[in-house]
Symmetry: C2
Subunit: 200 residues, 2 copies
């Protein structure tokens, strides 16, 4: 033998397809599923199918949603005048954990990356422009990631939004709270210096 | 919100149940399933069900098996006179990768651990004793893990097998090949010393 029996190998291969799961981890996970109860395997299997089938895209902000509108968009207490533009649904969750943002979101579904064939048409940019036409938006916060792609996307959007009478802002860069100056990279330190604020 | 929508949260919870998968990893894996294609999700879901349903226990050695007998037990070229006793099916795979062992196995399904309520009855020990009665076994190699539980299990089995006219051996302990004396722990070094062999 020296090979796993077919149904086990297939499950190992499925686990390996997941991001950050290497060969040994895939084997450990597959064995754990096989050693568990039949109910546990059925529940896991069903959760995968249901998550894939029941999660849709919010008609307004392109966030993940069970219904036509995502929980943020269907919350009437949120301020529709402010739109925070993020790369993906995980970023919405990160912002929501802060709890003091009461505006809405717009999920791009990624960042511009011409090298990987991701141009403006691959992102939910036209949906954002449509919202600027239809809704009364006062401010667009560009909250893409502080990476090369995220930056390029923010710059692209800033230029695209210039003709609209809307305030366009970007998240502040600086040293992370609890971080150590000594370990901050030069670019971050430079941004922290140029973005310095008066203490009143 | 600040909580994931229900089908996503359920999938995250399922991933978190797997060994060694923490909160952040579970979120990453769940998002990856949801972002993937419907076919990928179906294939993953089905692989889990099939692995659980199609993998049985070998009637003879208690190894994982698709059929009544596992690939090793159904291989007529294997020497049925030698039985290598291991804790679980993963250990069979590890031994098989060495490629020079041509005997059979016996999978205990764990190691004795009274603290966790795992006594001799929880392991496939009576199946091993039945094999000693029914088959012509010359040697039993105790290849449980070199942990406290594995050691205790090996000692327990050695005592249990004493009345049978069978040679009982244990895997050699020593410094791992490619290892460094400096980094070997005291117990391993002590075992390597006491188990030292004449060079001829």
């Amino acid at each position: 033998m020296a090979e796993y029996i077919a149904p086990l190998q297939r499950l190992i291969d499925e686990f390996r397809r997941l991001p950050g799961i290497g060969g040994k981890t895939a084997v450990r996970l597959a064995f754990s599923v096989v050693s568990g109860s039949e109910e546990a395997a059925e529940s896991f299997s069903e959760a995968i199918l249901r998550a894939k089938r029941e999660i849709k895209t919010c008609r307004r902000c392109c966030n993940m949603s069970e219904g036509d509108l995502c929980p943020v968009c269907s919350d009437l207490d949120r301020d529709g005048g402010i739109v925070c533009v993020v790369e993906d649904a995980r970023d919405v969750m990160a912002m929501e954990r802060v709890r003091d943002y009461r505006g809405t979101y717009h999920v791009l579904g990624g960042a511009l990356s011409p090298m990987n064939g991701i141009g403006p048409d691959s992102l939910h940019i036209k949906e954002l422009l449509a919202r600027l036409e239809d809704e009364e938006i006062r401010e667009v916060i560009l909250a893409t990631n502080p990476t090369v792609e995220g930056e390029a996307t923010a710059m692209y959007l800033a230029r695209l939004l210039a003709p609209f009478s809307v305030k366009v802002t970007r998240l502040a860069y600086g040293i992370p709270v609890g971080g150590d100056l000594e370990y901050a990279d030069e670019v971050t330190l430079h941004r922290a210096m140029t973005g310095r604020q008066t203490i009143d």
